[in-house]
């Protein structure tokens, strides 16, 4: 996530189809992205956030569940962002909430993308009956309101963190599946795909080594934006209390302060601003990628 271009450029360069000269498009993209100040700002802040997630709890080892002040104290010298209804430090909560938020968002996005790309690629590549069946299944998952379905899954199974991650993935993969399918439908008409088939490449190889790398630009934008959506999604589930009870997350902090926020605005405002900032920076990266991949469409 931190250096979106490198791993994929490697993939392209090592691919046997493009041996003589490197695909210039990725380098152009990289330069365009680096020239985009807003995107770099977003990237910097996201890196900062990752550092907070990794080192925050080490630098500030206080227990976020511990009562350290009078309940509902406004921001002051002792508690930077005030205290909640149980006298817990809101600032410490935000620092400690960064790691779970990050882990859940990234893992859930990976699972979502894995399901979505697999189904979309198979549907788009094989077409016909396979496509028909897979698309009907995708449609079925799209008529189930995502949050309601995720709430039901968590309620029926458990609020263990793995279940939460799977619930998020199961309810959101159709978007990626549709996007992948559309790209595959477009790319598989190209001559190099026919050529590869003519020299006897197996389907699996054509899908993963030939079509997928060429479908990457729109997918990378979608995946980046998906991370942000997942952060909000996870926050919504935590807000409703559907998350691991032992883990502190920003959404949970907002949810637990729901009955008190008229008396203590800081208990919901600061965790919310944390979510907003992180997702905003992810959006800037996504926009930057979009502009870098489609320079002609800049500013749309």
């Amino acid at each position: 996530m931190t250096q979106p271009n490198t791993p994929n450029s490697d993939q392209i360069f090592s691919s046997e189809e493009i041996t003589s000269e490197p695909d210039v498009k990725w380098q152009d993209t990289f330069h365009l992205f680096c020239a985009n100040r807003a995107a770099l700002l977003g990237l910097t802040f996201v890196c900062l956030f990752i550092l907070v997630g990794i080192f925050g709890p080490i630098v500030i080892p206080a227990d976020p569940f511990e009562m350290v002040a009078m309940p509902l104290m406004s921001p002051n010298g002792q508690t930077l962002f005030g205290s909640d209804y149980l006298g817990r430090d809101v600032f410490v909560g935000i620092i400690h909430g960064a790691r779970p938020t990050m882990i859940i968002a990234v893992t859930a996005t990976l699972v979502t993308v894995l399901i979505g790309i697999t189904i979309g690629a198979i549907a788009g590549y094989y077409g016909g009956m396979v496509d028909n069946v897979l698309m009907r299944i995708t449609e079925f998952f799209q008529v189930l309101p995502p949050l309601v379905f995720a709430m039901v899954i968590v309620a029926v199974f458990s609020s263990h963190i793995v279940v939460v991650i799977l619930a998020i993935a199961i309810t959101t993969w159709p978007t990626e599946a549709r996007l992948t399918r559309a790209e595959f439908l477009k790319i598989k008409e190209n001559e190099y795909v026919t050529a590869s088939r003519a020299i006897g490449d197996r389907n699996f190889r054509i899908i993963t080594k030939i079509i997928l790398p060429n479908a990457m630009p729109p997918l990378m934008i979608a995946i980046t934006l998906r991370v942000g959506i997942t952060v909000i999604y996870e926050a919504a589930l935590s807000f409703l209390g559907l998350t691991d009870p032992d883990v502190i997350t920003w959404g949970k902090m907002i949810g637990q302060s729901r009955d008190f926020f008229f008396e203590a605005w800081w208990t919901v405002t600061f965790p919310g601003v944390a979510i907003l900032l992180v997702v905003l920076c992810i959006a800037l990266i996504g926009d930057g990628l979009n502009d870098a991949f489609n320079p002609k469409l800049r500013g749309r």
Binding site: L144, V148, G228, F239, I254, F262, L276
Partner: protein, 323 residues
């Protein structure tokens, strides 16, 4: 056309059946069954009574027979019984769904209308201040959690500037006159509707700006201008209709998502919709209600999808299907 309608409705019925089957298996995976719920309400019971009750409910039969029975039940409108509310789940849903639907639909319409207008206005001056405003707005629309936005809006417009009521859908005591009662409900719905609409409005304004820019560069607009039509006429009579299409299509596809948003907004504003019902039932582990909500939400989306699809086909026969 007739064949298309029949085909679409048939697909809808298949979808609803699939939702019911999913519900059945989720209900089976859930800890405890209807007999446990009954006995828990009555303060526990002996195993023999439980076994007898299970037999009377057919819970000792093979899974596939239970599934067929369950399908028959749901198609007859029986979604089970909530022992906590002492009411059938169907009645509970019919009592709570209208509020959610009202919120979802009014927010969606508001978002489409304002979003399109914003986008069109921004497209007229692609480098102008308003165009940049649309870009920033859409970024914030993407990044703001809807439940948090609701709380901030409540703080500002119900606490610091007490213009709107903070919770519920009716004042107590209710206004006597019928018109007063309707105005009272609208007054209560303003903040939740705007909360939900703002986020979608933000993304729609960006999309409609992009499609408007595309349309404005096309040949038929040049022709319209060359004919000497006024700019207002060109934009509102010729360009707007085509520029609005992507937004309307997207809004139709996003219905299920907006429904999810409505559930969060209802929880924040304590509106008596399916959101709080679902939330309370999850806390109480009242599974018939939980799965009833899933069924209700999914079938509403399926029906709405069929309707939008048919409207599209009617409006533009070239469109095969949007879903």
């Amino acid at each position: 056309m007739k064949q298309a309608i029949i085909q679409r409705i048939f697909l809808g019925i298949v979808m609803i059946t699939a939702v019911i089957i999913l519900n059945f298996f989720l209900l089976h995976a859930a800890p405890g069954d209807v007999v446990d719920a009954m006995l828990a309400e009555g303060g526990g019971g002996d195993p023999e009574l439980a076994a007898r009750l299970r037999a009377s409910y057919g819970l000792d039969e093979a899974t596939h027979i239970q599934l067929i029975k369950y399908l028959g039940q749901v198609f007859r409108g029986d979604l089970g019984y909530s022992f906590y509310y002492d009411q059938s789940v169907t009645d509970l849903l019919l009592g709570h769904l209208p509020t959610t639907l009202m919120l979802t639909i009014s927010a969606l319409i508001l978002a489409v209308v304002i979003g399109t207008l914003f986008g069109v206005y921004a497209a007229l001056k692609p480098k102008g201040i308003f165009s940049n405003f649309v870009t920033v707005l859409s970024l914030f629309g993407y990044a703001t959690p809807v439940f948090w936005l609701g709380m901030i809006i409540l703080l500002v417009f119900a606490l610091y500037l007490p213009l709107f009521p903070a919770f519920g859908i009716r004042s107590l005591p209710e206004p006597e006159h019928a018109v007063g009662r309707i105005l009272d409900i609208i007054h209560h719905l303003v903040l939740p509707t705007f909360t939900l609409a703002i986020l979608y409005l933000a993304s729609y304004s960006r999309i409609s700006r992009a499609s408007m820019l595309d349309v404005l560069g096309s040949d038929y607009i040049r022709t319209a201008r060359a004919k000497g039509l006024s700019e207002t006429k060109v934009i509102f009579k010729h360009a707007l209709k085509n520029a609005a299409m992507p937004v309307v299509t997207l809004a139709g596809l996003q219905l299920a998502q907006v429904f999810s948003g409505a559930i969060l907004v209802e929880t924040v504003f304590s509106l008596p919709g399916v959101g709080p019902l679902l939330y309370e039932s999850i806390v109480r582990r009242d599974f018939p209600v939980i799965l009833g909500v899933l069924f209700g939400a999914a079938s509403t989306t399926i029906i709405a999808n069929i309707i939008t699809d048919l409207i599209y086909k009617y409006m533009d026969p070239r469109i095969q299907s949007i879903t």
